[in-house]
């Protein structure tokens, strides 16, 4: 009984010593570090992706121009518009060379007929326009 009391007294004595307080946990700092790591990681990933795209473009330039094989020879936009008939391939090539899609479409849509007819042949449109049709 006495021993038990002595132990209890000794325990009380030990409890007078308290574990030293700690520095506050730097949660915000940790979160900031994580955010910084995420931003840095994103930048690295974006740079790597850009590098891969650039390397791929340099190594395969033909994949990005959409030029069909028959129009691979250098041709100006003017030449392409004058070529008749206007095929899908030629339209693609024209789009690839034009500064904008709108400019390319405008060129195609409003280009006047420049095809020269051989001697003795007349355009059906011209003949019809000369006829007097009575309604």
């Amino acid at each position: 009984m006495n021993m038990k009391n002595d132990d209890e007294k000794f325990e009380s004595f030990l409890r007078e010593y308290r574990p030293r307080a700690l520095e506050p946990l730097h949660i915000e700092q940790q979160e900031r570090t994580r955010r910084r790591q995420f931003v840095f990681g994103s930048l690295v990933a974006a740079a790597a992706a850009a590098l891969v795209v650039a390397m791929f473009t340099i190594s395969n330039p033909s994949r990005w121009t959409h030029l069909p094989k028959d129009t691979e020879a250098p041709a100006s936009a003017e030449q392409l518009i004058n070529q008749q008939p206007l095929t899908i391939g030629k339209a693609n090539a024209l789009l690839a060379r034009a500064p904008s899609v709108k400019a390319a479409v405008d060129q195609m849509a409003f280009k006047s007929q420049t095809t020269q007819l051989s001697k003795g042949k007349h355009s059906a449109l011209a003949v019809l326009s000369q006829e007097n049709i009575k309604l």
Partner: protein
């Protein structure tokens, strides 16, 4: 998988545990590792895992979970030579009333002199304010074993601290 039931945000909950149990946990890690610097490192590791990881802890069992996590991390870090750690005033484990402060290094030294199995039980009981049942859960040993380790620890510590106790 342990589940968390409170509605608090994760960081608030972890912060609250750190404030409530942090000092006792670091004292516990000191009893295993022998020096406060390593003990604080262990605590940082445990709490950072709680913040980053997807570990969920139930409120009522948080205390035993934290002591167990600190124990595992401390043992993974490896026990240092507890008895030969230099006693540095900045690295003291305890705070005490002015008249007892002088003896706190003696107390730390005496705790280091105990076998780890006894010093960890003593620390959890006195400064962690845990029951024998809770300690048994942390250590995964029978409660009787915990009780006997505690009795041995107290007896040996009394012996080592006798002159101080007499003065008191």
């Amino acid at each position: 998988m342990i589940t968390r039931s409170s509605g608090k945000s994760r960081s608030d909950e972890v912060q609250a545990w750190y404030e409530q149990y942090g000092p006792a946990l670091v004292a516990y890690a000191c009893s295993i590792l022998g020096d406060r610097g390593s003990a604080e490192d262990v605590l940082q590791q445990v709490f950072l895992k709680l913040l980053k990881g997807n570990i969920e802890v139930p409120g009522p069992a948080a205390k035993t979970y934290l002591f167990r996590a600190v124990r595992n991390t401390a043992f993974n870090l490896g026990q240092r030579n507890r008895r030969n750690v230099a006693l540095d005033e900045c690295q003291q484990w305890f705070e005490a009333p002015a008249e007892l402060l002088h003896w706190s290094m003696k107390l730390e030294s005496a705790i280091r002199g105990l076998p780890v199995e006894q010093s960890e039980v003593l620390t959890m009981k006195i400064w962690g304010e845990m029951t024998f049942d809770e300690i048994a859960t942390v250590l995964e040993v029978p409660m009787n074993t915990v009780a006997s380790r505690y009795r041995y620890a107290i007896a040996k510590l009394r012996e080592l601290m006798q002159p101080i106790e007499v003065q008191k």
